[in-house]
Structures are given as structure tokens and as C-alpha cells.
């Protein structure tokens, strides 16, 4: 079909541009783009849970930070690279399991608050366990593996990692597990009465999302070659969530757009505009007012020329306990279109 072919061409073209960037742009901008892709990766991990499962986590920087510290510690102990990566994987799995076990029976605002608390606990541990983590001062000299030493090589890795996440999320969305998650998002009771184990599904979802976050963490520490507890801070987690909403929840590229806007402003625009936080805030406000489904949602709307379906529940049918995200706000499945077999 032509629509599909246009899409394929667009994707290939975008990838080509992304890959060509380091040969055209100065190293500083290439590094900046790496930051964007890493942030997009973390945001993607959050959107896996939010877009499919309707679960918003505001503590995911904690998982990323755990993996990052594992690598940092491994480097200071001069462990071989495969061992470092293995350690990072183990730490990611353990921390994700903690997140998963504490939250798998919850949803909505309660899920949010538990993940908030966990993120803060990780931050606190990073500060306290200073013999391992360097405490507030952090650890310097966490050199990347030799092959990634150049900013171009590292950048390509971040692009690859993000593409991997996109593919992963797309596959997940189209899989039966994705259907289960979306079913849970719509109605947990219905899913469990149909025989699905809701808690097991949520556990798995958090673990999968945690893997992506852990990958982001490894890239974070390699990018900066430095680590400090800031990586696990509430601000980091909150901004990642903002990126997801900004780009459009439940979309594949939304996290990248959100990351571009936020990272671009914090790290690049701030060199030229003193009142950059005001600018960033205004951008958020503008997006909400003029592109309520996120940037990607607005783009699809414009492209299809149709009026978006209502994105809110009928007022008056709200549950007594606000289940954040339960029956609204999310633009359905992949690409902002309602989830349906492709």
C-alpha cells in the first residue's frame, strides 16, 4: 500500500539523516544529539508502561542510575567489560524487580507514588553509600570502552539503542502481551475475570521497561564519563515523564520529540537564552493548549485532517479514587491510532 511505502521511505530517510549526522555536524552537536537519544531511550522505557499499560512511573531515573552506578563501580574496580555489563544487567534486573514487586498490585496514582518513593530511595542510596558511589561528589574518569571513545561512534550507539527500543516497543504493542497490557489498562477486573494474571503481566511489563531504562543508564554514564546522584534525582525522572507527555504518550517517536525539546532547551538553548526555564515552561503550555495529544498526536491529526476522537472520559463516571490515566489521556496504541490489528 502506498501509505505503508511512504512510511517506510520516511523511516529510512530519517535513519539515514540520523546516521549521517556525525559526518556533517561538529562534535559538540553530535554529543548533544547523543544526549537527546539517551533521554529518548529513558522516556521510551517510561512510555512502554504508560502507553501500553496506563501506568505512569515517576521514578524510572532510579533504575537507570542503578545500572549507571554498576558500570561506574565496575570501572573503578577495573573489571573487564563483559563483567561490567553483566553486573549492570544484574543490578537492573534486581532494581526493576523491586519496582515491579511493590507496584504490581497497584495502578494509577498509587503506582505513581510508589515509583516516586523508590526513585528517591535510589537517590538517597547513591548519596549515602559514598564509598561505592562517591557520594555527592560523584566519580570521575569512568572511561568508555575504547571502541566508543570518539563522539561519533558513541552517538551511533545511542541511535542504535533508541531504534532498538522503538522496534522493541512496536513488537510489544503488536504482540499478544501488548494486547493483554492494553486490556489491563482498560479494565483490570475484566482481564482477571477472563483468566489473565494481572499482577504477573504488570510485573513483566515493569521488568521489560526496566531493561530499557537500565540500558539508558549505561549510556548515561558512558556519555559523561562521570556520575553523580543527580542521575537518580526526582527532577530527572519528572523531566523524563514530561518528555513522554510532550511527545505524546503511546507513540513510538513521541519520546524522541519530547527529549529533543527538553534536552535541547536545557543543554543547548540555555547557552543563548538566560530565561530558558521560562521558555521551556511556555513551550509546555503551548503544546498543551494547541496540541493536547502531544506533538506526535497533533502531527497525525494534521496529516489525517480528521478531528481527533474525544480523549477524555465522560465526566461523572470518574471513580472515587482517581486512577491516573485510567480511562483517558492516552492516545491509544502505537502511533496515536487506536489499537487495532495492523
Amino acid at each position: 500500500m502506498t501509505a505503508d511505502r511512504t512510511r517506510t521511505v520516511a523511516i529510512v530517510a530519517a535513519l539515514a539523516v540520523a546516521v549521517a549526522a556525525p559526518f556533517v555536524l561538529p562534535t559538540y552537536l553530535v554529543t548533544l544529539l547523543s544526549l537527546v537519544f539517551i533521554a529518548a531511550l529513558l522516556a521510551s522505557s517510561i512510555d512502554l508502561l504508560a502507553g501500553q499499560g496506563g501506568l505512569l512511573s515517576i521514578g524510572h531515573a532510579g533504575i537507570a542510575a542503578s545500572a549507571a552506578y554498576a558500570i561506574a563501580w565496575g570501572t573503578t574496580e577495573s573489571l573487564a567489560l563483559p563483567i561490567q555489563l553483566g553486573l549492570a544487567l544484574v543490578v537492573t534486573l534486581v532494581v526493576s524487580a523491586v519496582y515491579a514487586l511493590t507496584t504490581m498490585r497497584t495502578r494509577g496514582i498509587v503506582f505513581l507514588m510508589i515509583t516516586l518513593a523508590l526513585g528517591i530511595v535510589v537517590y538517597g542510596l547513591a548519596l549515602k553509600l559514598s564509598t561505592i558511589t562517591g557520594g555527592q561528589n560523584g566519580l570521575t574518569g569512568i572511561d568508555r570502552p575504547e571502541v566508543l571513545a570518539s563522539s561519533s561512534a558513541f552517538y551511533l550507539l545511542t541511535v542504535a539503542a533508541f531504534v532498538l527500543a522503538v522496534v522493541f516497543r512496536a513488537v510489544l504493542a503488536r504482540s499478544s502481551f501488548g494486547l493483554v497490557l492494553r486490556g489491563i489498562r482498560e479494565s483490570e477486573s475484566r482481564m482477571s475475570s477472563l483468566g489473565y494474571s494481572v499482577t504477573r503481566a504488570k510485573f513483566l511489563a515493569v521488568m521489560l521497561s526496566g531493561l530499557l531504562a537500565g540500558l539508558a543508564g549505561v549510556l548515561i554514564v558512558w556519555q559523561a564519563e562521570f556520575i553523580s546522584p543527580n542521575v537518580a534525582s526526582f527532577n530527572r525522572s519528572a523531566m523524563a515523564v514530561v518528555m513522554v507527555i510532550l511527545g505524546g504518550t503511546g507513540t513510538l517517536l513521541g519520546p524522541l520529540i519530547g527529549a529533543g525539546v527538553v534536552v535541547g532547551t536545557e543543554h543547548w538553548l540555555s547557552s543563548y537564552v538566560e530565561r530558558w526555564p521560562t521558555l521551556l515552561g511556555l513551550v509546555f503550555i503551548a503544546v498543551v493548549l494547541f496540541a493536547p495529544g502531544g506533538v506526535v498526536g497533533a502531527f497525525s491529526r494534521w496529516r489525517h485532517g480528521a478531528v481527533r476522537d474525544r480523549q477524555h472520559a465522560e465526566p461523572g463516571t470518574r471513580a472515587a479514587l482517581p486512577s491516573l490515566l485510567e480511562d483517558q489521556g492516552l492516545a491509544g496504541g502505537v502511533d496515536g491510532r487506536p489499537s487495532e490489528p495492523q
Binding site: I109, T278, G281, L321
Partner: protein, 288 residues
Amino acid sequence: MSLEFLALQVLNGLTFAALLFLVASGFTLVFGVMRIVNLAHGALYLLGGAIGISVAAVTGSWVLGVVAAGISVGLVGLFSERLLLHRVRGRELPEVLLTVGIALVIADLILAVFGGNPRSADPPPPLVGGTPVGPVTYPTYRLFVIGFAIAVGVILFVVQQRTRIGAVLRAGVDDREMVSAMGIDVDRVFAGMFLVGSVLAGTAGMIAAGLLTIRPGADTEILLFALVVVIVGGLGSIGGAALGSVLIGLIDAFSRVWLPELSYFAVFAPMAIILVLRPAGLFGKSTS
């Protein structure tokens, strides 16, 4: 550990609890009752403190500072509700993004106008010094903060539970169409309550300025605490917010003494535990 020391820590905990409640009370109204995710609440608190301190410094009157803080922030809150928040009522994700944006703008404008120097407000002369409380002498201003918080709590509770406005509010949250079918302008009531919530935030900022400092970053810190208190106490419950504040305040004070190693987790870990065990919070209504 002596009785005096114990009494002091209890009072320290209650002071912090009072402060938390003042900030959380407005948040509980807006978030807990009206289900509006207003992440700009911390920024409103900061704005109240900043304006209040300046007005008090210029006029020499602390009371004027408190009043100015409450009124000005109330207006800012009302504006943002009518112009912006109104448009996304009921959709939490856009509300999150919108209010984060508003918070960023307010906080940065405060920095631009008032500068980044941390500032505090001198308590008015009658509240300076100490007052004997049982075995100890405790700073009068802190006792005032506790008393003020109790007063605010009682008023809110009475209004929400016993007056017509409160009933309309609670009904409007549960079933908006029915309430407006009864001829009540739910929009107006909501706007009014948002105004009240904002006034509370601004006033809390100025009151807190006598005890804490107003500076960049204070908005996020206090917002986190307010969230914790409201969640622990259970959404929609003034009484819950009050008890949540006391619980968090006391835990905070005593953990600093007995478990200084765990200072960062001291407040957030209990919250996580409570939520895992009792998702509706201490006093929230559970879902059917």
C-alpha cells in the same frame, strides 16, 4: 534521652507537620477533592513567600505581607485556572504538562524579579522569643504556626463536611452533570475552590518564610512533601491530610535523631510501605 529532649523533638515534628499541612491543605483541596493535578502548587507557595517577604519589607508589616501573599497568589491561581487549567479539566496528562510548564515559568520569573538570594521573613514582634510549654521553652513563632495550621484545618473541615458549598463540591466531583442539572454552576464552584486552594498556598509560603527560606528549588521540595502527605492521608480527606502531616512530621523529626543514616528515606519509605499495604492511604475511600 531526657523528657525535655523528647518534648522538643515532638514539638519540632509538630511544627514541621503544621507547615506541611498548610501547604498540603491547599493541595488537598485542589488535588484531593477536585482531582486537579496542579504541580504548580509548589511554585504558588514560593510566589507567596517571595511577594509576602517583599511587601513586609517595604511596608514594615508582617500581617500585610501575609495578606498580600494570599491575595496575590490567589489571583494568579484563579487566572491560571480560568485561562489554562480549565481547558484541560479532567485529563491528567495534559494537566501534568501544563502545570509543570506554569511552575517553570513562575519559578523562573521569581528568580528574575527577586533574585536568587535565599530570603526569610522576620516574625512580627509579638511572636518572637520563646514560650514555656510543659518542661521546655519553645519558640513562639513555631507554636503560632502549629496553631494557625490547626485553625485552617478546622475551618476547611467544617466547610467541606458541613456547609452547602462543601456538599456541592463533593457532589460536583462525583457527578458533575447531575449537579449542574440541578442548576448549580459547577464551573464557578470549582473556580472558587481553586482560588481558595491558591490563597492557602500563597499564605503558607509567607508563613513558612518565617521558619524556612524562600529560594529556588524550595518549590519542588515542598511539592514533594505535599504529595506525600496527601497520598498518605488519603485523597479527598482533610482529616487524612492532617493526620498524614502529623505522621510525616513526627517521623521526620525522630528519624533525624535516631536514624540519621536513613534521613533521605525516612519520609518516603513509610509512604511506600503504607501504599503497598493500604493503597487508598490511611483515610481514603477505596475503589469498589
